[in-house]
Amino acid sequence: MRGMKLQVGIGSLEELDYYLGEGADELYCGLYSIPNHVEGARNFSAPAEVIAAGERARRAGRKLFFAANEVHKELLGRTAETIKELVEGGIDGVIIKDLALLDALREKKVRTHYILSTLSYCMNAETLAFYSGYGIKRVALPEQLAPAEARELLRNPYGVQAEVFLKHRECCINYNGLCFLDCHGGLTTFCKRPFRTGKDEYRMAGPGAAERLAELYDYHRLGVEVLKVGRSPVKEASRLIFREARQIAALLGLGLPKERFVARALRIKAGFDALYRYLGKTI
């Protein structure tokens, strides 16, 4: 049984080289001038830099995608032109959320590997059919969708593939693309803060790691091929998550029964927990 391909977000050529060396199969990046959904992440400065990164990835036999997964009507024309330039420059695909942008790119006849952002909430087979009409070739599954609910969507007749995040590390408690809570600031996000309701403490509930890892196992069994690591505001954190993802992806490739996979993945996680704690104290 094969493991999963690893995709990771980068913000510089230095990070590109690091992850190429570490065995990433796919990489993605953004530009400061084009809206993309990530909190405090590093982006590239100019399209030429992205094109250079794409060439370097291609020489290494890997792929580079460009993230333009926010909606911003004032920048629609510039975003479409930039994507056209990047596609002509050889990048391998684009991660998109904005339907108006997909429509504009279709009008401009920009043909590339379009990936629907997880923020677009493709929750069902009908939504997938809708987006496949816009040329979507892959969908980043919503973090809130359970594998059993995604079964039909994953067996779609349009050849649309899927990718998932390493959710026990990177997953919003709420619907992240539809969230207006004020989520600024490095390592502490709004939804992880302690709140009060009268005299009681209130916390926004999230699922446990075992549940998330069991979901990952099921997604892999359902044919999801790509495990995605997002862009953390702290590049060392991204590197840790990538290394953890790599070990877990390899574990999936062993074809273990689900319970044994989860137990061993939790041991991997426990080892990395200590490293994250150390990182938290040192930055």
Binding site: V71, H72, K73, L76, K97, D98, L99, A100, D103, A104, Y121, C122, M123, N124, A125, E126, T127, L128, A129, F130, Y131, Q144, L145, A146, E149, A150, R151, E152, L153, I173, N174, Y175, G177, L178, C179, F180, L181, C191, R193, P194, F195, R196, T197, G198, Y202, M204, A205, G206, P207
Partner: protein, 246 residues
Amino acid sequence: MTERAVSITPLELGALTRKVLQGYERVYLGSEFCQHLLPSLDEVRELKDKGVKELTVLTPLLPTAQLRSFLKLFDRILGLFPGAELSLGDLGLMRAVNRAYGGSVPLLLARPVSADFIRMDERFLARFFSENNLRLLETDEPDRIAAFRGRGVKFSFHYPFKYLSMTRLCPFMKGGVCSRACAGRTLKIQQTAPYRGSFFLKNNFYFAENRGLPPEGVARTVFTLAAGPRREKLLSLNAAARKKKA
């Protein structure tokens, strides 16, 4: 002329008295946030028995099985309310309904998905609405309505709850099972030091308050009944007082 509507979840059907109904031309039933708060046929029938003439069914994001199941239910709802509107929180449902009914069911684009659309290019949006049989964009963002420069898209304005976020990990669920324990409950959530401020939880969504009155020029206003029927009157009085003072 602005149409006046009132919005309720099935849990609040009891609060919808004939007296309350007198003030509204249309009732929204369901939830644009929670898949467990879609109405049953009996609940829709109850609405009919209370004398409701115009119905809009609110729907959230739906996984495939729930979407299919809702389509069957909606077909039966149309038997009770042949002109029922559907407020969609899911583009897949939009596709499915348009394919099933050939554009004869009036569709609206619901919150929170509409928050992305109101930020999209206006010319695209007008074409998208026209191509997909969408009649209204539902929003609670008055500043976005004011900033909208295009034509061809009409708005309905929801108040006094302003959406902030929603979750599938509902705090009211026990062991992953929904027993609609959220009925009648709105929690005020306060931030702790060093942060300040508060917001609210109702059902599975977090919200703040829209304190002003609906902006001018909207096609419809939708008042959330759970805010308390007197709340709307208070808002109007406050707004009138402010206007007079100004």
